[in-house]
Symmetry: D2
Subunit: 455 residues, 4 copies
């Protein structure tokens, strides 16, 4: 998610800002702009590059814009669910984009429908538009705050009217949103790597329960909820964010390297080489190698050209041994005892495949080291994970996991080790949410209808 206020090239800057965060959603992309009197929108399914050509950007005139890249899990994939959403009324327009998951969305929609509301999409974003509308025809800070107070969940929102840009973070700060400056303009982004790419400077994080209003009058801040201890999603550090981003004042690569260092302290092993599963586990592997003194090697190579038009190998081809995403580097692996660092294990199927690949390439031993604790619980806050039934660590002990993935040994980082790697200074409110590992959910979970998530 990306927003900007007060820049002549608002839509173009937003395009580049979304580029930096393309890894957060590859199913759709959209940008809405405001020229002070009306809003314009272009969006579609597909990668950002496929959705926009210069002509589309040029039509998005005005000095404010919000953009979004769409992340789809098991839900609707059509155009309707791509964000931002734009609603026009005779009293003005409003564009909305959001990340995360509204846990009481089902109940709130039911109530709204009882009152005659009509929904086009299944997106939580549309829900907020209706709630804001219930507070008056004009979109105000108070109306948005009231609407946000009705939501339970983990989320960030960007809301744009003809002459204001609003940004909000859930009361526990589970999802990240940062403010930056480029010249005299304010920018807002899910990750700070967007600021680096566009040449903006980081200003500060938006706080849990904070609603920020940006307009010609500058930036104003209000609280729509009691301030809680920050519980930033640990998985953002573990694998979701880009290594060059800072989240809550902590660099992601650096935190991953520390995860590798802690993991080395907790679970050392006698071996010849350390290798990481690209891309997200490289940092941890370097940390592990540094701490143990073992050489770090590129034992696995990622094929960069596996795009969406790629012809997938048939079963027959796969049996023949064709493998597309990762290739083992035989010259490095052969005859070696390998420590394979991965960031996490969800269902275990990928690990089975990689361990086998390394053994087939001649590895004498494969020791799997996971740079985060076992994932035993589902996420209700917007990270798409499997159900508990599929989570390997929810159903098997260490020995059984080691057995099932075919490794010579397996070890995970402890929750304490993870916290140590991420949190540098609790006094500046650097708490994390590790509910998927520990089951300690900061926001109470209603297991009935927590259905929708976007990112």
């Amino acid at each position: 998610m990306f927003g900007i206020w007060g820049h002549k090239k608002a839509a173009e800057i937003t395009y580049y800002g979304l580029h930096a965060t393309q890894h957060r959603g590859q199913e759709g992309a959209g940008i809405a702009s405001s020229d002070g009197t009306s809003l314009k929108l272009h969006k579609n399914v597909g990668l950002l590059n496929d959705v926009f050509e210069r002509a589309e950007l040029e039509q998005l005139t005005g000095e404010a814009a919000v953009g979004h890249v769409h992340y789809v899990s098991h839900h609707d994939t059509g155009y309707e669910n791509v964000q931002p959403h734009l609603f026009n009324s005779q009293s003005g327009s409003i564009a909305l984009a959001h990340s995360g998951n509204i846990m009481n969305a089902h109940d709130l929609r039911g109530e709204l429908e009882d009152e005659g509301s009509i929904f086009h999409t299944r997106a939580d974003t549309e829900l907020l538009a209706h709630l804001i509308r219930r507070h008056g025809k004009k979109v105000t800070e108070e109306g948005i705050a009231s609407a946000l107070r009705m939501l339970t969940g983990a989320y960030t929102f960007l809301i744009m009217t003809e002459n204001k840009l609003f940004a909000a973070v859930d009361p526990f700060g589970i999802r990240p949103l940062s403010i930056g400056r480029i010249g005299n303009s304010y920018v807002v982004a899910s990750e700070t790597c967007a600021f680096d790419l566009i040449g903006a400077t980081f200003e500060r994080e938006i706080l849990p329960g904070e609603l920020v209003t940006i307009s010609g009058a500058g930036l104003e801040s209000t609280r729509f909820a009691m301030r809680e201890q920050r519980h930033l999603c640990a998985m953002e550090y573990v694998y979701f964010s880009r290594p060059d981003s800072d989240l809550n004042y902590v660099n992601v690569h650096a935190s991953r390297k520390r995860m590798g260092i802690e993991l080395a302290k907790e679970a050392p092993i006698e071996a010849d080489v350390v290798t990481g599963v690209p891309d997200s586990s490289i940092s941890a592997a370097i940390g592990y190698a540094e701490e143990t003194g073992l050489p770090y090697e590129m034992g696995l190579i990622k094929n960069r050209y596996v795009g969406r038009t790629f012809i997938k190998p048939s079963q027959e081809m796969r049996e023949q041994g064709v493998k597309m995403k990762l290739s083992p580097v035989r010259g490095i692996i052969e005859g070696k005892r390998v420590v394979m660092i991965d960031d996490s294990i969800v269902r275990g199927t990928t690990s089975i495949r990689i361990v086998k690949m390394l053994k087939d390439a001649g590895a004498k031993e494969v020791h799997v080291r996971i740079a985060s604790p076992p994932i035993k619980n589902p996420c209700y806050y917007g990270i798409d994970m499997s159900t508990r039934e599929e989570l390997i660590a929810a159903n098997k002990d260490m020995d059984a996991i080691c057995d099932s993935i075919g490794a010579d040994s397996v070890a995970y980082l402890s929750p304490e080790g993870l916290e140590k790697a991420i949190v540098k200074d609790k006094t500046i409110n650097q708490g994390i949410c590790n509910a998927c590992m520990t089951g300690n959910y900061p926001v109470k979970v209603n297991t009935g209808h927590t259905t929708y998530l976007t990112n």
Copy 2:
């Protein structure tokens, strides 16, 4: 380049084999197949993924195939120049693909045209077809050998008729070509990473001046030229090949890591972190860090989504600071003395940009270390480089280079260090061509009309 003989899924295997070597050419792709009685061809400009869908693969029936990915520099980019080339005659068909550069192509074309030959393309591949044809209507091993003897240059060729597959390497072995096995089938590829991806096993390198004939009768070998000392292109190791490939029995990643180690021995420096320019300099950076004991860090991140449909930043945007390909990781760089490892410097413009990027991100010092010797001479053998006028090292001394790229210090690996890093055992003929660095050209250069190169 990739070829296969004797496999029911010849075209499909070729597709995956080309996938592994997609980095060798991204301007066009093609596959020709033989079903024993006729040849079929599909090719087009664009990435392999864009050129082929399943339907096209399925039409390429038969148990033999050759494929090519097209690499264009300053020459023709149209469909005509995409390989393989297919020529039909009443006495049979022939498909050809080649890499490298034929240095006497201009003269040979002139002679052939004088005799009435008509050329469709400017590709050297077509030249060979005419030369083979001059030796008789039937394509024979002898005819190919005679034709190859007329060529001067650095090349590999794959030639397929209805019932044979031929593979050849130039007399000095400047360009690489390897033989593998998958089940009972022979495969031939420019890089061994293609074998790993399709589940084939490496068999051996094709030797300098060797012509291999594969058919129902198995594999036969002949010499078309006096065997010379192997001079495998050093730039294949330095940056062109994939790190997981073995070239002439030497793993590319491992050789790069050794380049970093040698560089550390030759040019150490007091600093805080070592970082590599992704992707090709990472191995050397790890080696440098390992040898010096400095921590290796990901100080530069490559944006994975900059494809061909991407909207390039305007001048105004670039001045604003928008940078798309590489991002510096401020959290790692800030306040540090950085050793920046790069694989080579050609014109120097990229180095200027990266050094500035690191300084802008707060680096206290930037020490540039290049894991290969200065490039001072043009390549006539198929690597697309600048002319001597543009080569920074041909025109400036070390101080001037350091000055012009804005670094605090600059050092290159020595030619001896490079050779040490690549050549493990000269007795198995592991010589390299380093003409672009030293000016020692193994094949005599005619500076008149050495114009065309494909890869």
Copy 3:
């Protein structure tokens, strides 16, 4: 517009039905289907052929479907305005498609927004959804009837829920909608040519003010409005519909031929040949020729390949004489006195061009005969015409028109002649709306905000 109930290939039949009516809208296309428990939708901007491939049709499962081809004039062209519209709620889904124009749309939207409604589009279709919703969470015949009663205008609607298909025509029957049968299934279409193409048989017209409900229980009919005298749009006969359609029991080609016959009676002229402007004026030209005894000739040819990807001639090319849509047939025109039959004149610019084209091709005289009365008034009922300022007949008398288009004589059919050509039997309620010619508007016009029209 097309709908079907009770057919295993509902979506596929709808595709072919829309094909037959593609001339009614070329800016977008969509189909929604119902499988009895949920609705699915696929739509996009573009021609029907571009929007649908087999895969999309196959995903539209179920035995009921409604489809629409989108016609855009000066209004929004984006995806959002393409029909059908689909609205999901926890109590069920509803798909809507409509043709025509709701004249009190602006006022109704204002009232709904005051009550908290949120609109995604500017389409009148969405308005009806809100009005239906105001009558209860479940979509019922009564709710639809009540909603329709709130509308003022000329329209047809198709409304589909999980288990019913509704079809409605405005109280004056200005826009056409017919019922047919294919096997045991009911089909509904804007024009009967859709029935012929899919092999269905015509059953009857839907009457003015009638709401038809089709479900497992068969077809039921109700009145939502006092039955008025039918006022079917005369322009449907004059140029909008396909000649093979029957509208209100009158064949379009036959009516056009009669227009030509009446025109010949009213405005004969001494000449050598009669020619029509293709395609819509051919029928009238044949009638004119038949009545006058003059030979009918193809003096003008339409270029069939001028599609949307066609490169339009530059000003320079047009001055050079390049003309793309129509070509004169010199061999027929040269030296002749030509009667040029056209169906209507709106602004006159096309007539100027064609008369000049004929004269340039050597016509000695060009006598323009228009097979409908002069258009002097705007249409508020869904036909996209110019404003009164642009209508040539609203601003000029016959002599001035003749002068301005460069003809040797001009004559129009009289309103009485037009009615005689169309209406065979008034007792079966075959009245027409000719407001654009006579100013007699059947539905009272509010000139304030009658903005939107789709077809």
Copy 4:
């Protein structure tokens, strides 16, 4: 085929000229231009509109151009066979385009291959390039004339070098080619409708056996063969050409109308209406109606939107009655005795379908009248017809044909009637080739290897 010399917008004019002749080939399109020093080419498979966008036209600089639209029957469809063909040599370039069929192509290729020639395509065009090359490195009028003299067949050629444009017609003038003027520039086209579209004026036909040379020195003419009696292909008049073209000074529409008139004289029938199969039989139907005094009606409508992306009806749909290309107009057909005029019958399958369609739409009787004689012999001169085995008239007598297509009566125009309709004045050499009807082949047929045809 289209060529132009001496116009600043040569490529653009060629694009529009090809537009007018798009009906002559829809499988590929290409344009080559000359700027006086080099030739440029853009071509691809697909419709003209799909192959060219403005950018491609703008790159085709220079004041001369030749273009071609590709017509494929049972032969190769790939890019290689799309024309023009461009050949580059160190002594100059040459672009060629051709229509028709070279009957001794197989033998000539064999001879050339024996001498070492290599062919890229199976196109006869490439053959001519080799033959011209055999007469010297420079392309001269004499060389072309010599090469043409080696060919046996029916053809037209356009040949462009850096500074000349050549146009040639076979010795019997079987295929048409006309010269026109636009300003000071010469244009050459397969049909005169191209001149009308671009605003050019017709100058004259190129004569049988004539080779025209256009350059800065103006237009020069030479004979490369003894002048024979013109034998212009009768099928060009019957269905292949556009009705607005003049072929050999005879308007196509007018000739078709006369075919209908002659047919009415030869084979009248008592009936209610006359209808033609669109588009090519409309002219003859009008003539037949005029002569008999029966009313001409549009009993069959062609669906304009059946393009290449159209989803074809499945067997199940076709059985259901879905028909896409033609629709019968029930309102006109029902209860009537119909005379159905078609231009020709080849295999008879289309006639079966249309007669059935008319009967299903309620026709009481269907009398088929064919406005040309029965086709009993294959064409070796470039019109793609069935083999003799498939030609219905080669294998059945009139009664059997009538029976098999389900008509109430069938009659064809006589060869004498056809000649009367086409040839106005034999003294100006207006002979026709009717070999497919009579077996009188003007060019001796070698039934061995007459394989390739393009148009």
